[in-house]
């Protein structure tokens, strides 16, 4: 049963991950990435990593991919222009891909990874709290890394604002506090002067 579910999910995961880089429409690519994240969350649950799996859905599917979709849907990307440089960038791209595959093979290879190194997790009872276990080590043993995460998040806030914030030039936005403070003399200038008679004035028609 568990194995069947695992194979179903991993098939979907591999296929959707492949679809991310092969489909032409970027919106569909982003949606396949959503599917890939979702199925990997399901596989993490099979590994009894409940908290991480739900956080994956919450943060990656519920937040990061929403931004991706925003960008992809609203940037109005012209696909033909994007494809023009394909041949020129191919060698560099291939090189990067080969390096990444080699790194992956080194880490996930049989020397460091495998059922003998990482056996299937022991099944836990219903009252086992994965979240509690994480909490007990995250804020004690890994406290420094945890506080560093806060610093990184602040850097992200500053960077995001620096990159995207532009003051809008022409807006008709109302500022109620300024409107309330306006006195009549700011808007109207009352000028007092004596009545004058124009020299060239003609006599009234008679």
């Amino acid at each position: 049963m568990e194995q069947t579910i695992f194979y179903i999910f991993s098939t979907v995961l591999v296929l959707s991950a492949g679809a991310v880089i092969t489909v032409r429409n970027p919106v569909f690519a982003a949606l396949f990435l959503v599917l890939a994240f979702f199925t990997s969350a399901a596989i993490w649950i099979l590994l009894e990593a409940e908290f991480l799996a739900l956080t994956l859905v919450l943060v990656y599917v519920g937040a990061v991919m929403v931004l991706f979709l925003f960008v992809v849907m609203m940037l109005d990307i012209n696909l033909t222009v994007l494809r023009e440089g394909f041949a020129r960038y191919l060698p560099v791209g291939l090189l990067v891909a080969i390096i990444m595959v080699a790194q992956l093979a080194y880490i996930v290879g049989p020397a460091r990874f495998g059922l003998d190194k990482f056996p299937a997790p022991e099944p836990h009872g219903a009252d086992y709290s994965n979240t509690r276990e994480i909490g007990l080590v995250l804020y004690t043993e890994y406290l420094f890394a945890f506080e560093l995460a806060a610093v990184i998040l602040v850097v992200a806030i500053v960077a995001a604002i620096a990159l995207t914030l532009r003051k809008r030039v022409k807006t008709n936005f109302m500022k109620p506090e300024e409107q309330v403070l306006v006195k009549s003399k700011d808007r109207v200038r009352l000028v007092k002067m004596a009545a004058e008679k124009r020299d060239d004035q003609q006599a009234p028609n008679d």
Partner: protein, 358 residues
């Protein structure tokens, strides 16, 4: 009762029996939920009607009681319009992705002690994750329609939903602090004792912020700029008709009920009786009176109904917020208040401040 069904089905293979029982439980939850959604629409029209000194629908059936059924049948026989400019696959996918998570979130909702379909440890996190998926349906529907109004509505709605999700998440952290558990059932039992123990007292600001964020998350008045019929006709679902539209509608109302139920479970003691600690123990446990006054599912439903009524009352009372006001409320008011109050609650938990955390 479940054992009886299980033994009656014993001639089937084990796995199939488990599956059938799960399906049975799910239908026992979803069918009443659908009924509740249908009659919430009638209640909405009636309540708003009376608030505006009208009678509301009263033609179909006695006092208009069959109105939701007539509406459903009508919608079922309407034409499903598939706009030429739309991306057909995504156009259909939008409503499906809206209702899927809205329904699936109900899997972990407890109705009474132990009366829950999937009793997982991280049930609150699961609900937060599921509700955060709802925004996909809206973005996809708005984009796939290829219509300006739909697109504008989807953008507004998505930005609003994500903004209020933060305040909502912080409020949930406060509940976790108070209960010391992620499991909804345990959160309710942590409020046992008396009315004073209910989390609405130590978490009062978070309680209000959670409910108001709930209004914004479900795109309800006064935060309904995503639909804003006077500005952008109907927002993201302007191109939808017949059943594709009803599916959006169904999801929205199921979410309203879910938010109401969660608010009463997390802040008002869920199925716990308000008479706990006031009336003598014997009156709460024995006999017919005990069934009525003691803790039970009826209290949860009553509290939920109260919050559902609040949704309608607020809709009939307040004018729509302006978009910049909505964003300001979410980011500049709610988030600072929740952060400060979280630290207050944490200090109370660490300092064992009574009567809640001793």
């Amino acid at each position: 009762m479940l054992e009886a069904i299980q033994s009656a089905l014993s001639f089937l293979p084990d796995g199939l029996v488990t599956l059938l029982i799960i399906l049975l439980k799910i239908f026992a939850l979803l069918l009443p939920l659908l009924g509740a959604v249908a009659y919430l629409t009638l209640a909405e029209r009636k309540v708003i009607g009376y608030i505006q000194i009208r009678i509301g629908p009263n033609r179909v059936g006695p006092r208009g009681l069959l109105q939701p059924i007539a509406d459903a049948v009508k919608l079922l026989f309407k034409e499903t319009i598939l706009p030429t400019n739309a991306n057909l696959f995504l156009f259909i996918l939008g409503p499906i992705l809206t209702i899927g998570p809205a329904m699936a979130a109900w899997a972990v909702v407890p109705f009474d002690d132990g009366l829950v379909i999937a009793d997982i440890d991280a049930s609150l996190l699961y609900i937060l994750a599921m509700t955060s998926l709802g925004v996909y349906g809206i973005i996809i529907a708005g984009w796939a329609s290829n219509s300006k109004y739909a697109f504008l509505g989807a953008l507004r709605s998505a930005a609003q939903i994500v903004s209020y999700e933060i305040a909502m998440g912080f409020a949930l952290v406060g509940v976790l602090l108070a209960a010391g558990s992620l499991n909804l059932g345990e959160i309710v039992t942590a409020q046992q004792g008396s009315v004073v123990q209910w989390f609405m007292w130590p978490l009062l600001p978070l309680f209000l912020i959670y409910f108001i964020s709930g209004l914004a998350e479900t795109n309800r008045a006064p935060f309904d700029v995503a639909e804003g019929e006077s500005e952008i006709v109907a927002g993201f679902h302007v191109e939808y008709s017949a059943m594709t539209f009803s599916v959006f509608f169904l999801a929205e109302y199921a979410n309203i009920i879910l938010i109401s139920l969660l608010t009463s479970a997390m802040f008002l003691g869920g199925w716990l009786s308000p008479f706990e600690g006031i009336l003598p123990e014997s009156m709460l446990t024995g006999g017919a009176l005990g069934l009525l006054l003691g803790s039970g599912i009826h209290w949860l439903l009553l509290k939920t109904a109260f919050f559902m009524f609040l949704f309608l009352w607020i809709r009939a009372t307040y004018p729509r917020y302006r978009y910049d006001q909505i964003m300001r409320l979410g980011w500049k008011v709610f988030i600072p208040i929740t952060i400060v109050w979280l630290l207050v609650v944490a200090a109370m938990v660490v300092g064992n401040v009574g009567p809640w955390f001793d």
